[in-house]
């Protein structure tokens, strides 16, 4: 009981730390991708936008400030080992309390509202907030927590289409292209395009969200899917939308696809956009409560 109680406190402290850390410190893979984008952008406003983004990341670091004012909705991705000695029900409580503490103690802007009355529900938590995605790992006693504060500018640019099998992969590509061109400058390009294919309608959307949480530079482990990632990346960067939609060569920093097998008559495709300020921070927690903070997970 004592171990579990202490462990709950550790998870809570970790969540509070990860939320603020993610908001202030952009991961290195993303910094590298933005730096490379500055080099290859040829449009004058596009380049100036990217230089301003680089400067902004530096200012956030110098002043220990948030990179972006949108503290988002707190989304956590948890990988829970079969033998981790704290039940997911308690892990959820800890993540929720940690989110609240970070919001009050920093303080952070509270974004959470009742979806009909629009009344603010308090410190970035509420009914079914934060959002936690679970994965359960056999033969393991650890916990991985990844915090992804998701801003609304990019989340509003989320799309689902139930393509039919006859649309094929071409239908998937066309839908992703149309979605990103239609989104224009609204989701703060250049960012990470998350694409979920297969499964069911709800699962495709989840997979698209899961895809945006991957570090830039990672590829899908299935070579067929990885090839589609590379092709879509090239296609999207030919659209000319450019940084912040002002026109230019760099429209996206990466395309990540996650897939699931599906019904023979289904061909769902979902797009979830992640802005250039792709906030992400992770920790590995051992059964004994040791915390290993990780930037590149």
């Amino acid at each position: 009981m004592t171990v579990a109680t202490d462990l709950q406190q550790v998870v809570e402290d970790t969540a509070a730390h990860l939320y603020v850390w993610a908001l202030k410190d952009i991961p290195q893979d993303l910094r590298d991708a933005i730096a490379a984008a500055v080099e290859r952008e040829t449009s004058v406003p596009g380049r100036r936008v990217l230089e301003t983004i680089v400067r902004n990341v530096e200012v956030a670091e110098e002043r220990q400030n948030l990179v972006c004012q949108d503290t988002g909705i707190a989304v956590y991705a948890c990988r829970v080992g079969e033998h981790f000695p704290l039940h997911p029900a308690r892990i959820y409580d800890a993540l929720k309390t940690g989110t609240e503490r970070a919001t009050v103690e920093h303080p952070l802007r509270s974004n959470a509202v009742h979806t009909i009355t629009r009344e603010n529900t308090g410190p970035n938590t509420g009914h079914r907030l934060p959002i936690v995605h679970w994965e359960f790992i056999p033969d393991w006693d650890g916990l991985d927590v990844k915090c992804v504060p998701k801003g609304s500018g990019s989340e509003n640019m989320s799309f689902l289409k139930m393509c039919v099998p006859a649309d094929g992969v071409k239908g998937i590509k066309q839908f992703v292209l149309e979605s990103i061109v239609g989104a224009g400058g609204k989701p703060c390009p250049p960012g990470i395009v998350g694409v979920g294919i297969g499964g069911s309608a709800d699962y495709a959307v989840y997979l698209a969200k899961d895809a945006i949480t991957r570090p830039v530079g990672t590829r899908n482990s299935d070579p067929v899917v990885a090839e589609l990632e590379a092709e879509l990346y090239d296609l999207l960067n030919q659209t000319g939308i450019g940084p912040m939609g002002l026109g230019g060569d760099v429209t996206v920093l990466a395309v990540h696809i996650e897939h699931a097998d599906t019904h023979m008559t289904l061909n769902p495709v979902a797009v979830n956009y992640q802005c250039w300020a792709a906030r992400r921070a992770s920790a590995h927690i051992s059964a004994a409560g040791d915390v290993d903070l990780d930037r590149e997970f």
Binding site: V44, P45, R48, V49, T52, I53, R55, N56, V57, V59, A60, R63, N65, L66, V67, C68, Q69, D70, T71, H106, P107, L108, R109, S110, R118, N120, G151, S152, G153, N156, K170, K173, Q174, L177, E178, V181, G184, G185, K186, P187, C188, L235, Q238, T239, G240, I241, G242, M244, G245, L246, G247, C275, W276, A277
Partner: protein, 194 residues
Amino acid sequence: MAEHRLTFPATEEDIRKLRAGDLVTVDGHIIGIRDRTQIRIFDQGQEPPLDLSGAFLLHTAPNVRRLGPGKYEPLCIGTTTSARMVRFTEPLGERYGVRAICGKGGLPDEAIEPMRKHGMVYFAIVGGAAALETTQIEEIEEVAWEDLMPECLWKFRVKDFGPLWVGIDSHGGSLFHDVQEAAQKRLEELVANL
């Protein structure tokens, strides 16, 4: 593409000099406004307690620390997506004489005509660059409608605010329209070759 420095509140003459694509830096006073603020003004019919004539409106809901009654310290102030609020463009110009709306991601084409008619511009800022933007805000001078926190009406004093691009000018020009039109053409070609 010209570069300008402007102080707000501004006049119609100042605004008519600007062309889509120009780069602008702003000093003076700007008003923070957002979805709920404008819903209260236009859908619920409440008069805004701050003067909006000649104003520069910034689409924002800031992170602040409360220091005392009506007094807030800016912690992190950045800019939100403008397109959600496009339907307020016409009445902001016609009824209140607003001169500039600033946000990120652009305004759809329905903002072009009201901006031409009323002598207004849309400024595009770099979305997400809030840490930098905060350094350009000298003080939060006034706050109204604190019950809408953080979507209140905010009056900020700014210096060297930018870089901003004229996204829509007062002559019918829109950078966003042009980029979108070219991208749609390109999209057709790309899809045809899939």
